[in-house]
C-alpha cells in the first residue's frame, strides 16, 4: 500500500515526470540527467533518490559514477491500475445505458 502511494507522489511532480521522460529511451548518469535542468544538481539527486526508492528507476554503480535506467514494468503497473478503475466506470455506464432504455420505453407507454 505504501509503495503504491509513493509511486503516485513520485509521478505527481513535473520534474520527476521530465526525468522519467528523459530516461524512457536511454540510460544516463546523474550528471547527464542534471544537465537537462536548470535546477541545482543536489535537487535533481533528491528527485532521482525518490524515483529510485519507488522502484520507478534503477541505479547502477560504474566506478565513481552512478547511472540510471527506467523500470518499464513499474510504469506499466500504474497504467494497468488506472485502466482497472476506468473499466469499473465503463461497466457501470453500460448498465446505466440499459436502465435508460427501459425508462424511455416506460415513458412512451404512458
Amino acid at each position: 500500500m505504501k509503495l503504491r502511494r509513493d509511486i503516485f507522489q513520485a509521478i505527481a511532480d513535473p520534474t520527476r515526470r521530465a526525468i522519467l521522460a528523459i530516461l524512457a529511451t536511454q540510460t544516463l548518469t546523474a550528471g547527464a540527467i542534471a544537465a537537462n535542468f536548470k535546477t541545482a544538481r543536489p535537487t535533481i539527486s533528491k528527485h532521482l533518490q525518490i524515483l529510485n526508492e519507488c522502484e520507478l528507476i534503477e541505479a547502477t554503480q560504474h566506478g565513481r559514477e552512478i547511472s540510471y535506467q527506467i523500470k518499464i514494468d513499474k510504469i506499466k503497473e500504474i497504467d494497468r491500475w488506472l485502466e482497472q478503475f476506468r473499466t469499473i466506470w465503463e461497466a457501470r455506464f453500460d448498465e446505466l445505458d440499459k436502465v435508460l432504455i427501459n425508462l424511455k420505453t416506460k415513458e412512451n407507454e404512458i
Binding site: 500500500m1 503504491r4 502511494r5 503516485f8 507522489q9 509521478i11 505527481a12 491500475w81 488506472l82 482497472q84 478503475f85 476506468r86 473499466t87 469499473i88 466506470w89 465503463e90 461497466a91 457501470r92 455506464f93 453500460d94 448498465e95 446505466l96 445505458d97 440499459k98 436502465v99 435508460l100 425508462l103 424511455k104 415513458e107
Partner: protein, 164 residues
C-alpha cells in the same frame, strides 16, 4: 450505438481529482432521474455481481444517502453521501465517504467531493463527473478499494464464461 457514445476518463494526480465524462442516449430529464432516484440508482451503480442497496436517501441540500455495495457472498461496503448543492437537471454536488450500516462515519477512510454536471446535447446528455480527494494518498486508497470490487467482478465474469 454504443461506440458513438463518448467516454473520457482522466486522473489528475496534481489535484488528486478523477474526471469522468460520458454521453448518454437519453434526454436530460431521464438521465437526471437515473442519477437522483434511489430505486433507479440501485439498478446500475454497483459493478456486477455486486449489488447496490440504498437504505435511505433524502435528495435535498443537507440531506443524505446511505447505501451499500453488497457482494453475492454477503460482504457489504457501506457509504454515505451528503448533498451540498442541487440545481435540478443541471448539477448536484455531494461529499462522499464510508460508514457502517447505521451511517456512523469511518474516520480512517478517505472522503471525497463529487460534482456531477448534466448538459443536454441534441437529445443526448453529457454527464461530467469530478471526484476530488483531499490528498493523493486518499485517491490511491480509493483506487485500491475500487480495484478490489472491480477485480472480483472481472473474476466472476470469467467464471461465467468458463462455465458455459
Amino acid at each position: 450505438m454504443k461506440s458513438s457514445l463518448l467516454m473520457d476518463f482522466t486522473v489528475d494526480t496534481e489535484n488528486s481529482t478523477v474526471h469522468v465524462k460520458r454521453e448518454f442516449n437519453a434526454p436530460v430529464e431521464t438521465v437526471w432521474s437515473a442519477w437522483t432516484k434511489p430505486e433507479i440508482l440501485d439498478k446500475w451503480w454497483a459493478p456486477k455481481p455486486w449489488v447496490s442497496k440504498t437504505k435511505l436517501m433524502e435528495f435535498k441540500v443537507g440531506g443524505r444517502r446511505l447505501y451499500a455495495m453488497c457482494s453475492p457472498d454477503g460482504e457489504e461496503h457501506w457509504a454515505f453521501a451528503v448533498y451540498t448543492a442541487i440545481e435540478p437537471r443541471t448539477n448536484f454536488q455531494h461529499r462522499d465517504g464510508f460508514c457502517d450500516s447505521n451511517g456512523t462515519i469511518t474516520p480512517e477512510l478517505p472522503q471525497s467531493d463529487w460534482d456531477v454536471d448534466f448538459s443536454p446535447k441534441k437529445g443526448t446528455t453529457l454527464v461530467s463527473i469530478s471526484i476530488k480527494h483531499e490528498t493523493l494518498e486518499d485517491l490511491e486508497k480509493i483506487i485500491a478499494m475500487g480495484f478490489k470490487e472491480g477485480f472480483t467482478s472481472a473474476m466472476e465474469g470469467l467464471d461465467t464464461v468458463l462455465s458455459t
